[in-house]
Amino acid sequence: MAVQLLILALFLLVVPVLAGSIFARTDRGSGSLLFRWVSGQFLLWMGFQLICVPLILRERSFGNVSALFLGYTAALALLASAAEIRRLARGASLPAWSLGRFFRGRQPVEAALWLLFWGLFLFQMVQAVRLAYADGDDAYYVAVSVLTEESGTMYQRIPYTGLTTGLDTRHSLAPFPLWISFLSRVSGMRTVSVAQVVLPLVLIAMAYAVFGLLGRRLFPEKGWKLPLFMLFVELGVIFGDYSIYTVENFMIARSRQGKAALGSIVLPFLFLVLLGLLKKLQEKEKIPPSMYLLLGAAAVSACLCSTLGALIVCMGVGIVGILGAVSYKRPGVLAPMALSCLPCVCYALLYLFLEG
């Protein structure tokens, strides 16, 4: 079990942080560990989607997907490590985080607010392991992960029963459950445990990491505002069960499902990148190509999570892009933003073609 958890930590924490160093100079604060972790995961998700969907449609085995994605992950990690070593040789320092440094020099009120935030965060982590949420959709999504890992076929059997069927094109364009199968295969942990116990811990933490990065962008000055903002966000999440459709309900109760990742991680991350882009437009700064790559990674990751993700991301990018171009009189920004949404358009067209 310990070895399995260590392998999962490698694939869910260490590799994304390494991969995320590619974006270390994209924006203010993008060199932080949190930003590297989240952006690196988006790069990995993008790769998984781009590798997986064509192979599913060609009815290849999951072993092919697994091997290719493992190669992609290794290549990304090696490339990012080489780039990081070059940066270190030029005198840059490694990002680091320590509890002592986190609390050092903070006012008592600020420290107390952070303590309260971390206490509530820990409570949610404990609840994610201690409580099981009975959701009927797991009978599909988790069963797909389990079935794929065991049988090696992808979307060719009915997950509810195990009976053989034709290729399920509708769900196969958003193969988030297969990413769970991959994690199970490389770690050796039972797929149901990866989906129901390990992933909620990581994905809930990642959602808060994105909220934290957004908070840091909104309240860049040191002080009580950021921890108080995070506390209010936490309150919104913990008391967000006012309907079964809310992002907050999905985030806490159904975190292993792709649509939950779409609502609680991908869309907030999209807001973060869009906010960074708008700030750059406002300050008349040049927008680095890596920012558009991040937008593209978020867009492709949305497609991995849910077929409707393509439309939602295109809507978000389109609305903010047009508003930003008009407000700051920078129409030139629209073309690269549209280009970053191109994969979504391709997936949407593919969906319409296959379902048509």
């Binding site: 797991d138 599909y140 009915i158 149901v192 903002f229 907030p268 439309l311």
Partner: protein, 271 residues
């Protein structure tokens, strides 16, 4: 289309209180927020999203492309929690930043007042929502798989390494079985539990009947090529399963496992 969109919006809002706070926050930020980038993301974008959501032409387009029941996910582009939290901070940031006449005592008084107001605002947001862990679907996990122990024990008892088995389960267990192991196949699964999908199965009807008619059940189980049949231990059975050739395998966690030997169950590699 418009009425369906409206119904979904109503369901999405729940009690509607947090949506009221969200709309008030939008109005506040529209008037008081100076940073254009934040205005675009937290005010203009949500407004445009809402306009699109309620646009019948847009709704029809999405309804044609995707399932109607997932149209509500467009509303995920409304950053309700983020906007509410940001607005609270904006209000108190402004109040805190205002110059206070007087000395240390006055500042302390102001600090307490602001602290009290923040607590009050937090309480209002909490009361407006619903505590996620009070959701009745949350239950204490029985194991590291987050599926009921009974499913784990029954599947472990019937599974044959290296091959699949076909088993019919009571409805309350079907959604968990194939999450635990893909080696147990079922003639029907969770699709039977969703009324609007209109699935029908004679075997399911026979299994869930108040009194199980063995003659009917045995024929249907055989017809569906099931190796095993799992029945609730307290189920009233009309007839004796042994009379139909069934073998009692075990009784686990309130369920009885029967094996129908009519369907062969050879283990790969074993003669």
């Amino acid at each position: 289309m418009w009425s369906e969109a409206l119904n979904l919006f109503r369901e999405y809002m729940g009690t509607g209180l947090l949506t009221v706070w969200f709309v008030l926050s939008l109005a506040y930020l529209w008037v008081r927020e100076k940073d254009e980038s934040v205005r675009i993301l937290f005010v203009y974008m949500p407004v445009v999203v809402l306009l699109l959501y309620f646009n019948p032409l847009f709704a029809e387009l999405v309804f044609r492309m995707a399932e109607e029941e997932i149209y509500y996910r467009i509303l995920w582009l409304l950053p309700v929690t983020l906007v509410n939290a940001y607005t609270v901070l904006h209000i108190f940031g402004q109040a805190w930043g205002r110059q206070t006449a007087g000395g240390k005592k006055a500042r302390l008084k102001k600090g307490f007042a602001c602290g009290g107001a923040v607590l009050g605002m937090g309480a209002v947001l909490a009361v407006s929502g619903s505590y996620v862990y009070s959701n009745p679907n949350f239950v204490k996990a029985q194991n590291f798989y987050h599926v009921p122990d009974s499913v784990v024990h029954i599947c472990d008892a019937i599974v044959v390494p290296g091959r699949e088995v076909m088993a019919v389960f009571p409805l309350e267990l079907v959604q968990y079985v194939r999450q635990y192991t893909p080696l147990v196949c079922m003639p029907y699964g969770r699709e039977m539990m969703v009324e609007r999908w209109n699935y029908d199965s004679d075997l399911c009807t026979a299994m869930e009947a108040e009194e199980v008619d063995m003659e009917e059940l045995a024929a249907l189980v055989r017809q569906e090529d099931c190796h095993f049949c799992i029945l609730r231990a307290d189920k009233v059975i009309l007839g004796d399963p042994k009379d139909y050739g069934w073998i009692l395998v075990d009784e686990i966690d309130g369920y009885v496992i029967y094996r129908d030997p009519a369907r062969e169950l050879t283990v790969p590699g074993r003669k």
